[in-house]
Subunit: 290 residues, 2 copies
């Protein structure tokens, strides 16, 4: 899949691209069938909602689940990002966010690159977010919201929110959000929320300010969120555990386009649990070979 | 304002009616201008969000604020309800819900009549909810959501939720919400959220199941929510303080249609604070004159 000039221009202006129904229902079924078993596992990669036992985020399934390992190498997802960066990419983060029916809590306004910079010392904004819907997304199940063009502002001030939800996040000041929304059109387009069937994909800039509301509907809104980072832009510090911020900077080798429906060999290095080293963290800068 | 046959049929089927822009911007301005001063008051009628100092609900402003006292007697609001019940009505509850920008929290799925029955011993469902938008309501500032037709189920089982938000509520089991939404059309109309400019009004049945999401947008979503009860159906128990569930069953006398823009005399009995008796509560049934 190659992005057209018009798409490249739109991405530059708005900070995101939406691809409705990029994956077929058959392809998505190979992924959703796997989620209950993943969420049922008692492992540190499952972070639960503060209200109880419902999983909010599962990390790094591409290292221990066969269907997700194939998704992580899917050309429809990886190729456009390589095109945007003009170089190879590696997997910086891979998560399955279960904004489950009734229990799904909010994600406050934030930029992902703020976290990558502050926590991981990622040198530049050359990492991209990708959201792949495993469920239909509608008005009622907490769609992802963006402030178009907000990526142009670069990294903005943020404070570390450790209390609102069950996952710590660098969140942005309300007054600044108000300004960004106003600049993007106020009540006429200042906030957008792409909605569509399962299998849709959003690509969005690491500096694009985004949030999502609660899910009070009876419909799950499970989505894969992953971040692909340009290899030359790999992180310089291992302050967060490896299942959250990956340390393997090997370029992704894509599989054929039919990989979700057919069998292809992939490695599952964390199949029997993550290595102890993945939990080791450091606030020191990485010693780089000269 | 008189409801037409088609509106009466729609209300019977769906459990709600929506009147976009029923009040003019000039009329609404007389109300919104008053809200900051009301919210700033330190009185028990202001209930704040659990996250801090932002007001979630202000109660009984019609007893101490001149513009809201006139709204409480507005014929465009009161006459349709008298028509629906075929008798006079009194004010059972009057609140200004400030689902403020960024801080507005969810209201879980509930029926209001559940509370009126369980707490106030209101004999029948002959009380109506009215929502009047003081701000524009859009997709992003936590619109009220309904399950159309759910009022036909009558009173459903509920549990007393004292923890989710800062205001206790009788909330409904998730499995039942799922069934009601499915019966109402599932993803095709099983949940609706009327949106429109400030000055719009929603009338909805006391048994209609409703909820509202968080407001992460930079736009306040302040609305007046009030309940008009048929006089013969007045509550039989004073378990809740009077500023929450009123004890004056005098029929409302409407003012002229231009009352928000002109001066008309109204009483403001709680202008200097509520009487001590308003906080006295009892779990005994009311002694009714034979």
């Amino acid at each position: 899949m190659k992005l057209r000039t018009e798409q490249l221009e739109r991405f530059d202006r708005d900070g995101y691209l939406f691809f409705p129904s990029l994956f077929t229902p058959q392809e998505i079924k190979t992924l959703t069938d796997e989620v209950p078993a993943l969420y049922a596992q008692r492992r540190p990669e499952n972070v639960r909602e503060k209200t109880g036992d419902v999983v909010r985020t599962n990390f790094a399934a591409h290292l221990y689940s066969y269907p997700f390992a194939k998704l992580a190498r899917h050309p429809r997802m990886v190729e456009p990002i390589k095109q945007l960066f003009g170089e190879d990419v590696y997997m910086h983060q891979f998560k399955i966010n279960g904004k489950q029916a009734f229990d799904g809590d909010v994600w406050q306004w934030h930029q992902d690159y703020g976290t990558w910079l502050n926590d991981d010392k990622m040198p530049a904004e050359r990492a991209m977010n990708i959201a792949i819907f495993l469920d239909d997304v509608n008005d009622y199940n907490g769609p992802l919201m963006f402030i178009p063009g907000s990526h142009k502002r670069g990294v903005v001030d943020a404070k570390h929110d450790l209390t609102t939800t069950s996952y710590p996040l660098w969140t942005i000041d309300n007054a600044l959000i108000g300004q960004l929304v106003e600049r993007a059109g106020g009540k006429n387009g200042g906030i957008v929320a792409p909605k569509g069937p399962a299998g849709s994909m959003i690509v969005f800039h690491g500096c694009l300010v985004h949030a999502s509301g609660s899910n009070l509907s009876p419909w799950n809104r499970v989505a894969v969120y992953l971040s692909l980072c340009a290899v030359s832009n790999h992180i310089r510090r291992f302050k967060r555990p490896e299942y959250i911020a990956h340390r393997d900077f090997t370029p992704i080798t894509t599989l054929p386009d039919d990989c979700l429906l057919k069998n292809y060999p992939v490695e599952l290095p964390w199949k029997n649990g993550m290595p102890a080293s993945a939990l080791e963290t450091s606030t020191d800068d990485l010693k780089l070979a000269a």
